[in-house]
């Protein structure tokens, strides 16, 4: 199993939990003790890191190419791009569904807790990570005929 395929399995099973726990803890701290610098920083760091984590292989892949240690080739790039785009499509549908559901449940004159927005974002992150991991795993599974063990 090649390194990137192992990473996609790791992403699929553990990525969601790794990003979900610190984000949820930050929201809980903000809810319980009020807004302060620490939970805001923790939440921002988690969602930026997790939401843009997929950019890292492209950066390190290019660095590795320059050093002639290629672990992330054109095929990996293509799979990664496809997986990210599929995940973004699902993420978008989730955001539209979340806002329509909130509208229907509360009514247009109603109000929602301010914590709903970060929770929605965190839910989106979980869905994004899950779908990206799943799509990469499926794409590697479909295209692994000629790979070395």
């Amino acid at each position: 199993m090649i390194q990137t395929k192992i990473e996609s399995w790791f992403y699929f099973f553990l990525g969601t939990a790794c990003f979900l726990i610190p984000g949820a803890v930050a929201i809980f701290i903000a809810y319980d003790r009020g807004i302060s610098f620490a939970p805001v920083l923790m939440f921002t760091g988690t969602v930026i890191w997790a939401g843009l984590f997929w950019l890292l292989p492209f950066t390190f892949g290019k660095l590795g190419k320059r050093k002639k240690k290629v672990t992330f080739d054109e095929r990996d790039q293509l799979i990664q791009k496809k997986a990210v785009m599929v995940a973004y499509v699902v993420l978008w549908l989730y955001f539209v569904t979340a806002s329509v559901t909130a509208w229907c449940l509360v009514g247009p004159q109603g109000s929602i807790s301010v914590n709903i927005m970060p929770l929605t974002l965190l839910g989106g992150l979980v869905i994004f990570t899950f779908v990206q991991g799943l799509a990469s795993t499926i794409l590697y599974g479909r295209n692994d005929k000629g790979e070395k063990a």
């Binding site: 805001v40 549908l93 329509v100 509208w103 109000s111 807790s113």
Partner: protein
């Protein structure tokens, strides 16, 4: 200037401002008349179409390419994918920024109007389309020496 550059200029100068203003119309209708099926449906369709319009461009251009009707080569496809990914990266940062802003500036009872969520989504589409068109223009400008007149 090729077809896609022209389309990007039109999107940048016309579609983004029109969308940023008219996209709020279903939200206003729901606020005034209540969450009727037609209004909710039009909101869902408009946001899905706005956020996933790049999928339609990719699908129809690839289909027409197969029929040899238009020139949509690998470079155009690569530019479209890159600009879409750039748009999504900025969209993600925009969502985080809005979330943190709302968190920090919420009223003392810590609740916000339910209409904030759809407004954020509609404006998110304007941000996404703007960045997508802008990066498309930059990419064609950078390597557009052999583009058709």
């Amino acid at each position: 200037m090729n077809k896609f550059q022209r389309e990007s200029w039109i999107t940048l100068l016309l579609v983004v401002p029109i969308w940023a203003i008219c996209g709020q119309l279903p939200i206003l209708l729901i606020y005034v008349e209540g969450p009727k099926f037609l209004h909710l449906f039009s909101f869902a369709c408009a946001t899905m179409l706005g956020g996933l319009s790049w999928l339609l461009i990719l699908f129809f251009n690839s289909k027409q390419k197969r029929k040899a009707k238009i020139e949509f080569d690998e470079r155009d496809k690569s530019i479209l994918i890159r600009s879409t990914l750039a748009g999504y990266v900025v969209l993600w940062i925009y969502f985080i920024a809005v979330c943190i802003y709302v968190w920090l500036t919420a009223p003392p009872d810590r609740s916000i109007s339910v209409n904030v969520m759809p407004i954020v989504i509609v404006e998110g589409i304007a941000v996404f389309i703007f960045i997508q068109s802008f990066t498309t223009l930059i990419q064609y400008g950078r390597g557009g020496g052999n583009s058709e007149q």
